[in-house]
Symmetry: C2
Subunit: 224 residues, 2 copies
Amino acid sequence: MLPKDKNTDEIDIDDLPSLSEIISDSTAQKVDPPKSVVLRLPRYYRFLRDLMNNDVMRISSSELADMMGMTASQIRHDLNCFGEFGQQGYGYDVKNLFMQIGRILGMRGRFSAAVVGVSDFCELIKFMVPGIRIKKFFDTASEEYSVCSLGDFCRRESIDILVMYVPRDAVADIVDEMESAGVKGIWNFSSTEVRSDKMAVQNICPADSLLLLTYALTDKEKKK
Amino acid sequence: MLPKDKNTDEIDIDDLPSLSEIISDSTAQKVDPPKSVVLRLPRYYRFLRDLMNNDVMRISSSELADMMGMTASQIRHDLNCFGEFGQQGYGYDVKNLFMQIGRILGMRGRFSAAVVGVSDFCELIKFMVPGIRIKKFFDTASEEYSVCSLGDFCRRESIDILVMYVPRDAVADIVDEMESAGVKGIWNFSSTEVRSDKMAVQNICPADSLLLLTYALTDKEKKK
DNA sequence: TAGATTGTTAATCGATTAACAATC
DNA sequence: TAGATTGTTAATCGATTAACAATC
């Protein structure tokens, strides 16, 4: 979309789009979206899914804002990083917006995964995780388990994502093995953080959020 | 600590501390710390615990920064919101800093909790959660389970925190019951978010972080 | 057309970083 | 004392909000 106040007959050479802008344009996405916005996308996605499940067809930014406890302005601003998904005077089509955000997030049921951890963890992951295809569970307590067998499987089956919850001292070996096996991402619940140059990583530490809860309780007490 | 360039003989009435500043001073904490800083505290806490477990006695902001993938400046800035924990020319005493942050986060092993959810969840929580005293597990699949029995227990035992992972349509009833039972905080893993005026709440949705992982993978693919 | 609501800009606000004086 | 490293300020950077023109 051209700036409104620009005379398009006069072309300023500095205003021509760069190669990277052209490339990103062709994927229908304006440059790199701010990190803060990306972090909010999964939450939008969840709320939109709930709306869909409740057969809500359309929603305005201010209705959604009320529901999610944020400002309408922020919602419109966020969504506009990725395209023009709404319609003036009408709002947003829930299903369309849901699909768009799903597409942006790469939620296409396309990625394959293996899970490694204690059996309770493996069981729970089944419940919790939609959207990736889990090919196999590796119970770390089982006799047949070894890092090699995990690596071989991931290689053989071209596994995209490893979901892991293993003891602190088992982390490094598994990560090395996964890098060599060509695994693309690690979803790590173990208490040691993973970093990798080769793979995308999400470390997730539920206990952190518990500490924020005890912080809130302590803070409330103190203020009384 | 007084500003260096201030002549303390000349007192500006507008510079006298307000009541709220005096109160917060007496708790050894400068006003309200920025939210962004509080969110980082649990991660500091974890890294310091690891250092302690490896018998590291002291650490400088830049060493810690390297380890955590952030700037030394930010670490010093963050910590100074709560007090002067370091020593010029020396760095930070790991154990002391760990204890201070634990204190700030209210991590005093003092809060009691009940857990409600499917049995795999209950089992897993045992592993994952240090620092709160779990008094009882309520398996939602069991015959004896009911919202009332959960509520009665929390009332009787003055439970501080409810850890929950229950189906979408069970959430609202439990939250109401907890409010009336005087429970102070909810640590919620269910897929419906909880909000409450009476209680502190942390909603935690692991699947969100999986979507950020698939986003990263998709983004990487696209840029190739 | 009138009413509603988006898309988009500019203003505000808060968070991060760089730099250096204070001081151990 | 000299060297190291914090505490603290000011500058930069990015995120949020408010406002309104565009437009359905």
